[in-house]
């Protein structure tokens, strides 16, 4: 007979369980059952410890905050005011999501071929595997309050991207938890700007899961711009399923948040799929930014490139985990992964971990990581032309990340993202 001593809950776990008990959450009986199962799992298994491989560099038990309450839906008046003062990144078909609640009535008009529904109205979510390693989904499942379900009809071609405008303006301790789905029909072409914005000095938890499906021949440019406030915490996942002859360009910018765990999972199910992931992670102050990626090639003849440029300073800690799985059937896979980091202070650090699991014998998989400080000879040259040390550092940092940002073809978008990068540098460099 085995006797289990009850586990002592951490403060963060207790806080989540109490927030769940106090919350009035939407959904059918099936949703309620899934929520209860998730919160039970959280109580029994707890948040992941560092012994769980996927969370080795991100100790949620120590990092996740307390004092949580699910944020209420802002009033119609407050929502309207927030929409008016919202600073767009670029022009987009804006779907406002505020403190975790979608406001359909003030969303921009949708062009033909696109329909959007609140995600609860659109039906259930996939079954959640209640394990500690799956903490992001477990927490999201327990607390999800709203979200959008986007459907792009086959053959639709839209120049203006869809803008998921996630803003937070709720009280300290708030939780904004959303679940989105997006299905891009056969041969459709569209852009997405998925953006998270919130004020500094407010400790809130933002959680989002996006399930994105690209049907055969679809072509999607997706920008995930995380601009949360400097005390915010984020637990999020982007799941992408890619069909035949699909093309996905994903760009991730991390310029906000005290704690970010962003998981990105790709299942490449269609031959001729081309997946290009790039990103810039700027980690300053006390931020802990973790991007954990998993790409699984299930079929033959697909390619994926993944390039991240990271800048860490202050006491910032960065993590990049990049897993590439090549299944036995996935011959002729071409997968490349690069992670380049600038470490600018003595107290910052960055952990980069590639993992390759390859079962096919005729593939090309490459990975590389570099870590450096700013090149002294560059600094000397710039300063020898009268540029101050600070300005010289900023020029070089911008140069380092701009190489990645500028691969995006949309000049307006590049400029907007570079403005965000400049703003981060003003604060941290």
């Amino acid at each position: 007979m085995t006797v289990h001593t009850p586990r002592i809950l951490t403060d963060a776990e207790t806080s989540l369980i109490e927030a769940f008990a106090a919350a009035d959450l939407p959904g059918s009986d099936a949703v309620a059952t899934a929520r209860n199962a998730a919160i039970d799992a959280l109580e029994t298994l707890g948040l992941p410890t560092r012994r769980i491989e996927a969370f080795h560099y991100t100790d949620l038990r120590a990092l996740l905050g307390t004092g949580r309450t699910v944020s209420q839906r802002p009033s119609a008046q407050a929502a309207l005011e927030r929409t008016d003062s919202y600073q767009r990144l670029v022009n987009a078909i804006r779907l406002p999501i505020m403190d975790g609640h979608y406001f359909a009535d003030i969303a921009d008009d949708l062009p033909d071929g696109i329909s959007v529904m609140p995600s609860f109205a659109a039906g259930g979510f996939g079954k959640c595997e209640n394990t500690a390693a799956n903490a992001v989904e477990v927490i999201n499942t327990a607390f999800v309050t709203d979200g959008v379900s986007i459907d792009v009809e086959a053959g639709t071609q839209i120049v203006t991207p869809i803008g998921l405008a996630n803003t937070f303006a709720g009280a300290t301790g708030g939780m904004a938890v959303t679940r989105n789905t997006m299905k891009v029909g056969e041969g459709a072409e569209i852009g997405v700007i998925d953006r998270y914005v919130g004020p500094d000095e407010t400790d809130y938890l933002s959680s989002n899961i996006m399930d994105l499906e690209l049907c055969d021949g679809a072509n999607v440019s997706y920008v995930l711009s995380i601009e949360d406030g400097d005390a915010a915490q984020r637990l999020a996942r982007l799941n992408v399923r890619l069909g035949k002859e699909t093309k996905l360009n994903l760009f991730i910018l991390n310029v906000g948040g005290r704690l970010v765990r962003q998981e990105i999972n790709f299942d490449v199910w269609g031959e001729g799929c081309s997946l290009n992931i790039s990103g810039v992670n700027l980690i300053g102050g006390d931020a802990h930014i973790d991007v954990t990626s998993q790409i699984t090639h299930h079929v033959a003849g697909t390619n994926a490139t993944e390039t991240f440029r990271n800048v860490a300073t202050g006491r910032g800690k960065g993590v990049f985990q990049g897993q590439i799985n090549v299944r036995q059937a996935a011959q002729l896979t071409d997968a490349r992964m690069a992670c380049n980091t600038l470490l600018l202070s003595d107290d910052c650090d960055f952990s980069a971990k590639p993992e390759l699991e390859i079962f096919a014998d005729d593939v090309q998989c490459a990975h590389g990581a570099t870590v450096t400080d700013l090149e002294e000879s560059y600094m000397f040259y710039l300063m020898a032309r009268g540029i101050s040390e600070t300005r010289a550092r900023r020029l070089l940092i911008k140069g380092f990340v701009a190489e990645i940002v500028e691969e995006l073809e949309d000049e307006v978008l590049v400029e907007a993202l570079e403005d965000r990068i400049e703003a981060w540098m003003e604060k941290h460099v």
Binding site: Y378, M383, G386, I387, L395, E403
Partner: protein, 251 residues
């Protein structure tokens, strides 16, 4: 304008003394050539003037326009008008040349309390200076010095010099790696900048450059000291007899 007194410099890392009691005075309007064999301390002198960190000044002083130059950091010296044309200009990937030029010009203007340049004014100035130096304007859209040939890099150095209008120009072996035509273009660029309120220090191995940029004074550097000074005829004498004879005579 520049007064170097009893300067002693060693390499910070290993303590090797390179400059050993150097004295040099350069007046406004003067073009001074510094010649010397390999290892005499020519490049070290140029780095020390521009403020590179790898050197330790153990003795002596450098006064520039009445200010203690050694008290200023690299960018302060540059903003105050000291310009080093690099022997090996650095390639900086990711930083567009135009951005760099604008940043450098505005840094100087800020130091002088002037407004930043407007973009049209800036482009106009760069276009004019580039045309003088036969630099293809499209080249300046590339990152700093990236993909430039040796000659293009040197011309780009002179372009920067003409845009920044420094008071004290230090040319560190600007002739190295240049073909005859490029040498002429670069020299013409430097000659255009000669003026009564600007001083130029030309550091070189060879007399050849001094045919194009005719110096007012010539100083011979050996083992970290100026062992002989004279006018332009000294350069011709060196070309004829070589350094060895002169160094032996000084020893």
């Amino acid at each position: 304008m520049l007064e170097i007194k009893n300067l002693h410099v060693r390499i910070e890392e290993d303590g090797t003394e390179i400059i050993r009691g150097l004295n040099l005075s350069v007046k406004a309007g003067e073009v001074a050539a510094i010649m010397g064999p390999n290892g005499s301390g020519k490049s070290t002198l140029s780095y020390v003037l521009s403020g590179k960190e790898d050197y330790e000044i153990t003795e002596g002083s450098i006064t520039y326009n009445g200010q203690d130059l050694l008290d200023m950091d690299v960018s302060e010296r540059a903003a105050a008008g000291v310009f080093l044309a690099f022997q090996y200009p650095v390639e900086i990937p990711g930083v567009p040349t135009m951005t760099f030029l604008k940043e450098a010009m505005n840094a100087q203007r800020k130091q002088r309390g002037e407004d930043e340049l407007t973009t049209p004014d800036f482009i106009k100035k760069v276009r004019a200076a580039a045309a003088d130096l036969k630099i293809d304007f499209n080249m300046l859209k590339r990152p700093v010095n990236v993909g430039f040939s040796g000659g293009e890099k040197k011309r780009a150095e002179i372009l920067q010099m003409s845009l920044l209008q420094p008071q004290l120009c230090v040319l560190d072996e600007t002739d190295s790696g240049l073909d005859i035509d490029a040498l002429k273009v670069v020299s013409d660029g430097v000659n255009l900048l000669r003026s009564p309120d600007r001083a130029v220090i030309v550091i070189t191995h060879y007399q050849r450059l001094l045919e194009h940029i005719v110096p007012d004074t010539v100083h011979v550097l050996s083992k970290g000291q100026i062992i002989k000074s004279g006018d332009k005829s000294l350069a011709l004498e060196l070309e004829e007899k070589g350094y060895a004879e002169l160094i032996d005579a000084a020893a």
